[in-house]
Subunit: 376 residues, 2 copies
Amino acid sequence: MSAYFFHFAVYYRGFFNCLTTDGKVFDDQKHVWLQARQVWTYMRLYNEFERFKKPEILDAAKRGAVFLQKYAKNPSTYKCYLALTRDGKPVRMQKTVFSECFYMMAMSELARGTGEQSFKDEAIKMMDRIVHWLRVDNTDINLPDYAGIPPTSSLAEPMMLLCLIQQLKDMDPASLDKYGDLPQWCIQQILMHIQRDGKYILENVSPEGKELPGSHGRVMTPGHSIEAGWFLLQYAIQQNDESLKNTAIQKFMINPFEYGWDNEYGGIFYFMDVDGFPPVQLESDMKLWWVHNESMISFLMAYKETGDQAHLDRFAKIFDYSYSHFVDEENGEWYGYLNRQGPVSLSFKGGPWKGCFHVPRCLLMCEKMLKQLCNK
Amino acid sequence: MSAYFFHFAVYYRGFFNCLTTDGKVFDDQKHVWLQARQVWTYMRLYNEFERFKKPEILDAAKRGAVFLQKYAKNPSTYKCYLALTRDGKPVRMQKTVFSECFYMMAMSELARGTGEQSFKDEAIKMMDRIVHWLRVDNTDINLPDYAGIPPTSSLAEPMMLLCLIQQLKDMDPASLDKYGDLPQWCIQQILMHIQRDGKYILENVSPEGKELPGSHGRVMTPGHSIEAGWFLLQYAIQQNDESLKNTAIQKFMINPFEYGWDNEYGGIFYFMDVDGFPPVQLESDMKLWWVHNESMISFLMAYKETGDQAHLDRFAKIFDYSYSHFVDEENGEWYGYLNRQGPVSLSFKGGPWKGCFHVPRCLLMCEKMLKQLCNK
């Protein structure tokens, strides 16, 4: 794992995250999602794998955190930027909470590994802000409120919040207490996206859980649905909730995998339209690395939980596609973006949206699960 | 031409512009660029082709114009939206001037065809606003002014403005007088994008015409450069400016065509990086219809002007690629988006960015030029 992994550990302050096929920096902008995810990944490895419990990994994560704390957020509102210059000047802000969520994950995983109260305080302060934006007042994160935009509940927000709930549990289960019914609220918000007699997961629904009109209402992101599947399954296992386990596996994993798999060329599509109309996102038929990472985690977790061989077969199908298409045997790491037919479309290993996160998270989770399966 | 063309003339108020392969409406949002361009196209055909001088075409254009005038703009600022609901409610606004430019083109071409003063007044009022935003005060159209964003001059704005100058000339040459040195300013702004010893056209440069750092500074859009080529050549012919003619043809047409052509699979790439690094736009290696429409116009115009057979060969190369890849013989019209290797990626005929404009403008301009060449 480390062979290609430290390819990414190029830093000055923060990490360069735009890297060519063989690891050269081709742009020195620093993307906040990726900066924060890289800190999280280093610390997750440091915290959970003996062979990564090294001072240089801790040191790199801390340097990344210093950069984030200093430059990624508006110190008074805690709203974070999306991209920064090499020396930390803001370039772009998104009207979403995702930079903020990854910031929280980074601080929390650092708190877990170092025991330092300041990181824990920072993680909880950001968590408070995120919950405030999503449940109380979304003014800071809302796009202009034009009359023609239907009120929309996206899958991304509650699933991200469920991920943060797990992160708080990993750091300090007691820290979750003050958020009350937040886990149940997240689950309910996620399950609203099951539509059409349970057959499809729609990315956008109304706040009441009804289908929305047009392409916006019909769009599906199978990789996203399958990723939500393992977030839900993990939660259901902890709660010992058999019904939620079944829902997670059937509705969020199996169904999206079946309609999302490209029977002609292999791999999972990025965007689809539930009625089979052409999706309007230009990158719809591309095969993206993270979709396949998250699907590997999902089906291995489903197999580990149920023992059903069909899940292992699905895992193997995705693994075979991934290792014959995404993995760069010569230079290490995974390509991120393939054309539908299979050839690499964009050859970079790190770009504005691809950093040190989905590949290592997939590998570390699969390694743990496979070891547990072998030791059974 | 009309066979597939009136496929698009589906309207209630304004036009549906999201149409499947065989012309079914798959989304009823109305995209302002496309609404305005469709009005312009109808009127250009009505004004310049005897066989399209039909009351139903005029009527359709006027209905589109009514919708635009009523819903597309903020009546006090003249800032336009990007997308509207079927019944005209705003969905999205862009911090650019392009909706506004197409609005101006629509009103101006209507004024030209009807002689109605109200359309002329509306066109000039919008032109005034656009010139104000681009040359005097860009507050209304500017993204947040973050410290990390380098001041940037994009190719799109001055080339669009040069297109509007031509539009004013077509409507009423005297209407151009009040804009003073605007044409010269546009030309100077466009020529700043010639970089690296004249070999490449960069999409973004500094306001002083220097190269900008990173992917943002290195990005090239060959189709855009080639389109700017015929805007420049048309202007140079009118001005009888031999030097500008040569620059338009060599720097904006031939060079971008040579570095933009995909020698492996044919067609012209969408985005490229001047240093050969991977571009960061996910759709970079796709082949887009409008790139090929604009290139056909450019090389036919260059051939007509110079008589150099090499331009006709380039035209034929693009024509052959287009008619074997983009054109849908069964249902009419062109597909818009192909994968690098050639297969259709998104099967719609009309979508949020593809409407009734580039294909018919290409066909009408090429028809006129070919007739003039045959009559020589």
